[in-house]
Symmetry: C2
Subunit: 323 residues, 2 copies
């Protein structure tokens, strides 16, 4: 009987898990709240319970499980299967692989969530067929994964891709990292919302409902010609295009893929990104570089985790190594 | 009889060539002016004549030549051995490998000069033993080479490493690339000299001799407590540290190596670079990253070209692939 793979995308808010085959097809998908405040042990226990329920609901015997892959937002020691530090989850030195291996008795592969999403886009999404691309995730934070020379690049200590902390406005507002004006303080979801809310407090605009301001609402206001919504999105796009031009000048990748919740603003955001990118990227390096939306949407993470799961058994042979 | 290797570092001003063994030891070294205005054919002819003279002077029969490596400042198609574009040399689509192969009858390997220097530092210099480092060259221009996961990283079209065109001051002066405020407009040798000269024209300082202002003289003036020299070097160091922090946040390398003429300012420059780097690099990514001078000095390029020469015959097996 053919093996089934389990992918788990652990987010700060939700955990998404899916069963799938080797071609990226999902048989079943489940989402549970992370409730990180409960601590790592209880979060992991809840994930295991949810997986057991999903196996039962789909009539999948645990014996068919070929391997498990997990994407976790933070610094991951993929070789040892240990999450070294995941700030949003408040996890430190959590031996994630061991927990799942001992329960399910199958190989487990853990890696950084953005790199997992990059792997998903590479195998089944907007990165298919490319050997050099940057995959940006715009959500609560801003991170990036890189495929260089056809391999996922993790960096010396698994900490590569921190484009969210590129300082793009030295006079900007403080960032959680201790600096000022990081890209993340301008173009993340919460930063977009905060910018609009603060300008509304200054009496700049009246058409937005402050009570439940979201990126999606800002997008709708943009469509309704709201000047503040446009200013906020244009500002984010401008600094994103600038940061991406710097990154492409350094990395000479063929393509930039952008996913995460904020990327759902679509062309409203991408137009500004592309024009600023073209302004700052070096001719000869940036020519022909396309900036495209992630093809797997918010499933990139869980599909990437599925790819990680397959890697536990070394199948298929053309899958790039991580770390 | 053991093979001898020939390395050639083609610069905009001078061509340096050397004969050496597989361990990076140079038996003979020669320097000739490039005189690029003569055109590629005559420049290459002069290099070949100089090599022939060096072989004769050292009593080296051409039959001992195992291979030839060349580093060229520009976009190089290493697979085909063609220099696609070298602006400072005014070379376009020059089949360098073929010229040397047909004359000397040995394998030839051409690559970008900064990547050749990076290879030299990796094999025999400040990058020895590291698997992830950035090698910055501060000269007439600013370029960088990368060793990632133990391999030279060239990018999708051989154009990686353009950190010199990271825009660090959007209100800055125009750059040759068409943008404003690129790192190169602030921290290259000519930019340092221009900054000092312009401020002198404004009557800011009187202790520097304008007639033959060089980076070396600015360094001496710094030692003599000249405020303008200090301002110029501090400004360059500040923006270099900022740009390097952005690059390290993205690449998570273990080490930054800085070579080229401007790097000879030594601690006068490195102190400013290091303090600004620490200010902007992300904790957890930048911790422990050392910023060190190139160990091979201005020989990095020609030693790297020697390593390229050895690669023509696949010796030794642990030498990283380029392109």
């Amino acid at each position: 009987m053919e093996s089934v793979w389990l992918g788990i995308d652990v987010g700060g808010t939700n955990v998404v898990m899916a069963l799938g085959d080797g071609d990226g097809n999902l048989f079943a998908k489940k989402r549970i709240p992370t409730l990180a405040a409960d601590g790592a042990a209880r979060v992991l226990k809840r994930i295991i319970d949810a997986v057991e329920a999903m196996l039962a609901e789909t009539g999948t015997p645990a014996s068919r499980l070929g391997g498990i892959g997990l994407g976790v937002p933070g610094l991951v020691d993929a070789k040892r299967g240990v999450v070294r530090l995941a700030v949003n989850l408040n996890w430190r030195q959590v031996a994630v692989s061991e927990v799942f291996r001992s329960h399910f008795g199958v190989p487990v592969h853990v890696d950084n969530d953005v790199r997992a999403a990059t792997l998903g886009e590479y195998q089944f999404g907007a990165g298919k067929g490319f050997r050099h691309f940057l995959c940006l995730t715009l959500g609560t934070g801003i991170g990036s994964g890189m495929l260089l020379d056809g391999r996922i690049y993790a960096g010396a200590t698994g900490g590569s891709g921190e484009i969210g902390h590129m300082v793009v406005d030295p006079d900007g507002i403080p960032c959680t990292c201790g600096n000022r004006g990081c890209l993340e303080t301008i173009a993340s979801g919460p930063s977009l919302v905060r910018f609009v809310r603060e300008r509304m407090a200054d009496g700049v605009a009246v058409n937005l409902d402050d009570d439940e301001l979201t990126v999606e609402r800002i997008g709708s206001a943009f469509d309704a010609q709201n000047a503040l919504a446009r200013e906020a999105i244009q500002r984010a796009g401008k600094y994103l295009g600038f940061a991406l031009a710097n990154a492409v000048n350094l990395l000479n990748v063929e393509r930039v893929i952008i996913g995460g919740g904020v990327s759902l603003l679509g062309d409203r955001l991408f137009g500004f990104i592309r024009s600023e990118f073209q302004r700052f990227v070096l001719q000869g390096v940036g020519n022909g570089v396309e900036i495209v939306p992630a093809a797997l949407g918010d499933e990139a993470g869980v599909v990437g985790a599925l790819v990680l799961a397959r890697q536990t058994t070394g199948f298929p042979s053309d899958t790039p190594a991580t770390m």
